[in-house]
């Protein structure tokens, strides 16, 4: 049972190594996905998540006991962990999968995170992760994790406040109509949206310090999770090339052309 005194927060930040946002994406020759021979970096929404965790610590000082980053990916994903450590995470976990393995699906990721959370001796109070990865735009992991754990969730966060006395999170969510404020009991899953914060650049002293921070290595077998894909991607193709438009001389011609194209509303 949790003691009723103020509890120190243990924050878990899952991060993903994805194709860099500045890369011009191309579909691969087999048409099964995008060309992965491009620059990779930490998923931007995950950077926002790490930044938020670090800012929570800057605001709440000792109330934040630990910030742990975790990634599931090939050996190169360790760079992503190092970036998280350089931004301010204390320690990290690398669930390593082979280079040739397909990217894990959100349900497998959520199950992995669930298992990792179960194994944390000090427990986990807040999980902050990106709302979606910019390579697949699936946006499911946070929600699935909350479902598996039975925890409260606040997605698309644009503002986060944690009250360790009341053991609550006050989150402003971005929704289609504007903003929505929700109050969640801890432990909570929060997914980040673009306007939550602007991530810091890892300063050189922090990059050097990150060298000494621990990286725990695990495999899916260690955690007993099966990564066999449940989905098969049949085809990925680029959007049709933009065809040039035509110029019209006046409104009547415009209306005529619209009618031609099948717009019955005019």
């Amino acid at each position: 049972m949790r003691p009723s005194a103020i509890r120190l927060l243990n924050i878990l930040v899952p991060v993903k190594r994805a194709v860099d946002y500045s890369v011009k994406i191309r579909v691969n020759p087999q048409q099964t996905g995008i060309d992965l021979n491009a620059k990779h970096s930490m998923n931007p929404f995950d950077e926002i998540a790490v930044e938020e965790a670090v800012r929570l610590r800057e605001r709440m000082k000792d109330a934040v006991k630990s910030i742990k980053a975790v990634t599931i990916g090939p050996p190169k994903s360790i760079e992503t962990l190092r970036t998280a450590l350089a931004m301010g995470a204390d320690s990290s976990i690398h669930v390593e999968i082979p280079e040739s393995a397909p990217a894990p699906e959100p349900l497998a990721v959520a199950k992995t995170l669930q298992e990792i959370i179960k194994r944390q001796k000090d427990g986990v109070d807040v999980v902050i992760l990106g709302k979606q990865a910019i390579d697949d735009d699936l946006g499911m992991t946070g929600q699935m994790l909350a479902g598996l754990l039975g925890w409260s969730q606040a997605t698309f966060a644009s503002k986060v406040e944690i009250d360790t006395v009341k053991k609550e999170a006050l989150v402003t969510r971005e929704i289609d109509g504007g903003g929505q404020e929700v109050r969640c009991r801890l432990p909570v899953i929060i997914t980040t949206d673009l306007r939550l914060n602007e991530p810091r650049y890892a300063s050189l002293p922090n990059i050097m310090k990150a060298k000494k921070k621990p990286v725990e290595k695990l495999t899916p077998a260690d955690l007993g999770i099966d990564y066999t894909p449940q989905l098969e991607i049949l085809k990925v193709s680029e959007p049709p090339q933009r065809v040039g438009g035509g110029k019209v001389a006046n409104v009547d011609e415009l209306v005529a052309k619209l009618k031609e194209a099948g717009f019955t509303a005019v």
Partner: protein
Amino acid sequence: MASTLLRSSLRLVAKPRILSAGSRSFTSSRCIRSENVVIGSLHNFTEEENMLREAVQRFAVDVIGPKVREMDENENMDPSIIKGLFEQGLMGIETSEEHGGAGGSFTSAIIAIEELAKIDPSVSVLCDVHNTLVNTIFRHYGTEAQKEKWLPQLAESKLSSFCLSEPGSGSDAFALQTRAKQDGDHWIINGTKMWITNSYEAEIFLIFANIDPSKGYKGITCFVATKDMGIEIMKKEQKLGIRASSTCSLNFDNLRIPKENVIGGEGKGYKIAIEILNEGRIGIAAQMLGLAQGAFDKAVPYTYQRTQFGQPIGTFQGMQFQIAQAAIELESARLLTYNAARLKEEGRPFTKEAAMAKYWASQVAQKVSGSAIEWAGGVGFTRETGIEKYWRDSKIGAIYEGTSNIQLQTIAKFIQKEYS
């Protein structure tokens, strides 16, 4: 020739310490290993060096990029950029952690200087002078007390200048006229310095003055002074390029400096200057390299977008050949620069290679940035795209920190020694 080869291969076997400070954590196994020696291509960097490159790149693009044109037009360095450099830990790259620095390798400094120069060579030279000249002098020649006093300030908040040149002494640096006279436990300095980088914004100054002209250059001594001791900042030069980098004349009128501010001992200034400028040379090479790469990176994508006569101009064979040649020159400058940096890290002689790197990188910078303007055509000639700025900025590369002719002379002296 054969004897040199034998000597260097013996050195390889005798000193397994050839593994450079940075090579401890090679993350790839793409290197040839032979007994105690790791031989890798110059495309190998440690994890920290790679992370630093990325971090500086992003900082440069996001924070410095938007201000480059304004700073150039106004001939003024935005204070928020200087502050940003300090906050990113880029002003104490090699300084040890106990003195407030990042404890990084020399190559890390070179990487930072290169990445900054890709966006703005003015910002790059500010960082270069502060790190490779001033910080290094304190680290190598300062007493423990001096290091404790000055290095943290230099790493955290105070910009610095290296004051050697005068109106009457540039290449002939040791003909300097600034005098220092002893007065009890103080030195009184009188004289004028010219062409001093960072001087408009700097608070800490390393001044080279002669305490005993009868000894010739062996009287030259290095002093550290702060602006509030009474240094007069005079005319700020209006320059062709690196306009945002402040270049001023300084006047010392009976400037009183406490005795403990002598760095490296009396009469050791000439030695300090020579040795430090050797290292600084690699820094300038990195700045010129970054400049050339920045110009190339700006102009070449444009050539694949701009179409004339029904095809992108970058696909015409004439253009392809020019672009390929520029790429070759860039790669050669890159290899010279990084090899000189690694030689220095390994504790091996690097003076000749540093001179070659600085000379060549500044030549390449002129050529490639000039070509970049031509590839972009009329658009390259306007100030809006920022391509012409690289060409203007590149000219100083052949002049400061040892003119091109001086570099050639240095290299020739080494060759003469080897071959005669």
